[in-house]
């Protein structure tokens, strides 16, 4: 008899060889899940190699999704269902499966060759090895071939085998009792011109679903009810896509053209890819010869009156340091995006980390203050990119925007705004003809200078990287002027604090002794941990910083309320250096440097090791 178990949230991890179509499967499952109304969060985990030899551990690709009827902030610490297309996928991911979880294994991926490549000395499906789990071994490859044979499909064997992911997807749709129509529509568009492939894929999807229904492999379906999300219209979004849209939106709202100068680098390249698709928005993308040319072309574009942006990851950002100093000295608007990855040096390009914060703060010669913002989640990337542009344009300064590999590729539902609802952005291009002499370094009350772009009559002026005289911008070696200008530049950035929202408690207990202070992509894990702590009766508050330089104006008061501020970071402790420099508060670091995001459990467990007196 078919039972239905209802769960508040569930986590599924699809894993297989790079060639197995895992990412597509995951994305389709995600879309349907979103349309169904669950809250969700995903984490694709690519292999480092483009295409490592089939069947090897290095070649495993994974896609994890957590979805729920309650709010979901992370892709899940451990999964309920693990789908593995071969032995290597099992080996690399088994630790991520909950005790008692479900394994769906493609037995065709556990033949002698696959076992050897994945360095199993035995077949884990065949003895007691997996007795802690509920294992369902299916020869998906054979099921696929048979399905297609029966339907008289014209697909060759290679192509047929490549479609087996649709069988799996259908099966999982059945397991969670989800409709197929969205994926069918997707396949119809995707293979519109390839009738045979389209038919085969749709057929397999349905076959997988039906197999679930009829084969009695499972006696239980899992139900995860729709979440009570805020009412409104939603879409799914990945972090880098959200940044791209945020930049375009800021350009539109400010009435400027967007220029994006970049040199490809993992995991920032998709920003360039995404933006270069939108030429119809008047966007100019420029693939430069290197990162230095990328930022320099952006400086040129900004000088010329564009909303200019350059993006990269750690090693590329290191190369931009000198030019970043120039942009700071020129006091022109520029957004620099760093999609952080595992460092140092080339490091772990496909892994995530938050270890470029201090580089953002100090990675240039001299006193060179630049505001820093960090995005907290895939959808938050939109608003943060938008805010970075607004800050750059309204305060005439380069702005550093930090994201990371985790949220760049992760996906979540987003209640997107309408164009009208976006904050207005003003820029400092002088309107109307010049009166009197133009002083390029004359400032308004916020210490912001004008953006006199070439072509404007009467505003001709010369700027550069040498120290400038106050007001005139002429080269000046005067000692007092240098000190004054250094102070003005610092003050100008500090003034931005007045325009920032106050720091506040994101969630959690209002009167706890313990605060957990995060920044960037640790958002979901901290939020979940705090929710779970509070549920266990342990008081803790979650504060999340979007503005890392300058800090929100009230941060001092907020932090001083707590006896201990725990600072989880996916690095060796970087925010904490900045905090200690400013505040006389007891901070405790919680660091993870594994190229992986925090799980909420890790944070929760750490909190429980703290002095009990703090946890009441």
């Amino acid at each position: 008899m078919l039972e239905t178990v209802t769960k508040k949230e569930a986590t599924v991890l699809f894993a297989g060889d790079s060639g197995d179509g895992i990412q597509l499967t995951g994305t389709q499952f995600t879309d349907t899940t979103a349309l169904y109304g669950n809250d969700l969060n995903t984490f694709p985990n690519f292999p480092a190699e483009i295409r490592a030899p089939q069947g090897t551990l290095a070649g495993v690709s994974g896609f994890q999704i957590q979805f729920g009827s309650i709010d979901v902030f992370t892709p899940g610490d451990q999964c309920d269902v693990l789908v593995v297309m071969n032995a290597a996928a099992l080996k690399t991911n088994l630790l991520l499966l909950k005790k008692g979880g479900i394994i769906i294994a493609n037995t065709a991926g556990f033949d002698a060759k696959n076992l050897r490549l994945s360095k199993y000395e035995f077949n884990p499906l065949e003895d007691d090895f997996l007795s802690d789990y509920k294992v369902h071994s299916l020869d998906i490859t054979k099921l696929t071939r048979n399905t297609l044979k029966e339907s008289g499909s014209s697909l060759g064997q290679k192509e047929a085998d490549r479609s087996k992911n649709m069988f799996v997807l259908g099966f999982i749709f059945w397991l969670f009792n989800r409709p197929l129509n969205n994926t069918i529509a997707f396949l119809e568009t995707k293979f519109a011109s390839k009738e045979g492939v389209k038919e085969a894929n749709i057929g397999l999807l349905k076959a997988g679903y039906n197999f679930g229904e009829t084969s009695e492999t499972f006696s239980t379906q899992i139900e995860v009810k729709p979440a009570r999300l805020k009412t409104g219209v939603y879409r799914n979004i990945q972090g880098n896509e959200a940044i791209a849209i945020g930049l375009i939106a800021a350009a539109k709202k400010s009435g400027l053209e967007l220029f994006y100068g970049s040199y490809p680098i993992t995991p920032a390249s998709s920003l360039l890819h995404e933006l270069s698709k939108h030429k119809n928005f008047g966007i100019k993308t420029f693939q430069a010869e290197d990162e230095i040319a990328a930022i320099c072309s952006s400086i040129g574009a900004s000088y010329g009156g564009a909303l200019a942006c350059t993006g990269s990851s750690g090693p590329g950002i290191a190369l931009k340091g000198e030019a970043l100093g120039l942009a700071m000295m020129l006091e022109i608007p520029l957004v620099i995006v760093n999609i952080q990855r595992g460092g140092p040096s080339t490091g772990l390009p496909t892994k995530t980390e938050q270890s470029d914060l201090l580089q953002a703060m100090f990675g240039r010669n001299g006193a060179s203050p630049i505001p820093i913002l960090a995005a907290a989640s895939p959808s938050d990337c939109f608003q943060t990119a938008y805010d970075a542009c607004k800050m750059a344009l309204e305060h005439m300064t380069p702005v550093l925007l930090l994201s990371d590999g985790y949220i760049a590729n992760g996906m979540e539902p987003w209640q997107f705004p309408t164009a009208d609802s976006l904050k207005e952005i003003e820029h400092k291009i002088p309107k109307g003809p010049i009166e009197g002499n133009f002083l390029p370094y004359q400032r308004d009350k916020n210490l912001v200078r004008k953006w006199a772009i070439p072509g404007l009559k009467g505003y001709q002026h010369r700027i550069g990287g040498l120290e400038k005289e106050d007001l005139t911008g002429n080269v000046s070696y005067d000692p007092d002027n240098h000190e004054k200008m250094t102070e003005i530049r610092a003050q100008k950035i500090n003034n931005i604090a007045h325009f920032l929202p106050n720091a506040s408690i994101d969630s959690g207990h209002p009167n706890s002794k313990l605060a957990i202070l995060g920044w960037g992509s640790t958002y979901g894990a901290i939020k979940t941990a705090v929710r779970d702590l509070n549920a266990e009766g342990i008081p803790a508050a979650h504060i999340h910083l979007k503005n890392l330089h300058p800090f929100p104006p009230n941060l001092k008061e907020v932090l001083e309320q707590y006896e201990l501020v725990l600072v989880p970071e996916i690095n060796d402790g970087q925010l904490i250096v900045l905090l200690k420099n400013k505040f006389d508060v007891v901070f405790e670091p919680l660091n993870k440097v594994k190229g992986l995001p925090f799980t909420s459990t890790e944070i929760l467990r750490h909190v429980k090791t703290l002095n009990k007196a703090l946890l009441c």
Binding site: D31, A34, L35, G37, P226, L229, T231, G232, V233, Y234, R235, N236, I245, I248, A249, K252, F259, K279, N280, F281, G282, I283, K284, F286, A288, E289, D290, I292, A293, C296, S297, S298, I299, G300, A301, S302, Y303, G304, G305, A308, A323, L326, F416, P417, T418, A419, I453, P454, G455, L456, Y459, Q460, H461, R462, I463, G464, G465, L466, N474, V475
Partner: protein, 342 residues
Amino acid sequence: MLTTSNGETKRSGKDFATDQDVRWCPGCGDYSILKQVQSTLAETGLKNEDIVFISGIGCAARFPYYIESYGMHSIHGRAPAIATGLKISNPNLSIWVATGDGDCLSIGGNHLIHVLRRNPDLNIIMFNNEIYGLTKGQYSPTSPIGTISKSSPSGSLDTPFSPLKLCMGAEATFIARSMDRDPVHLRTTLLEANQHQGTSFVEVYQNCNVFNDGAFFQYSDKKSKADTTIILEQNQPLLFGEEKEKGIILDGFQPKVVHLGEAVGHADLWVHDAYDPVKASLITQYFDDPNNDLPKPFGIIFKKERPTYESLIIEQMNASKSAKGEEHLDALLSGENTWTVS
């Protein structure tokens, strides 16, 4: 501004001078280049506000301060990259890059070769003094082997670049050479560079009287000049010498000096054609090699029509606009797959 007899205003170099004290060493060749550039700008009819000078770092790179236009004295070697971004974002501007042999060919070498292949409409003036002036006298990528300098007290060992040959290799569409001490030639060359649609590269020999005095005097000295230089003019035979009594013929691929007379006449001589890439290659290959005893060529060596980078970008943008329709921010925000929670 001058007013001519018929009431037209004619602009002069002075209209392009700024109020800044010019801070090169007294006697530096840069002064002459500055003057000729200012005069050239006056001749072009360009408006001050539509001109931008971008430079890197070096003595040459102080140039923007002295031109009444927009200007950026940026960082060492990066001017071509900055100028590329500026041109793409603002294609109506007349953009000039002022750079030195170190700025352009040493730290800036990569940006140079890439700007040339891309071909945005820029004018690059490279002040070649075969030395690092601003840092007080180290050898540069154009210094001849054996140059004694602060960083090469026993003589430099690096084979220098021939800048024009390098540019040819990098798909340049306009290369020329002129000299600080030949104002008229310099002005003419700059005017042509300005007219060329695409990246124009002009090498200007410039005397650094402090650290490398006289490096090019043989090409300006009254006594030697006629025999050591050859002025290239389109469709004209390659002639030189006090009385234009000498010329260049091609012996196979080999350029050779001949004395005109009965055996060889004008008709036998190499006729300059800047549109011919092979001739241009031969010129940059042979004439700049100090082992060949040939006069130094000045003038426009190579020229080629190729769409500018910015025109291709705009074309592609417009094509995309007409193919996909004008943009709608709301459509972008919502994407293609949405659902409603109610």
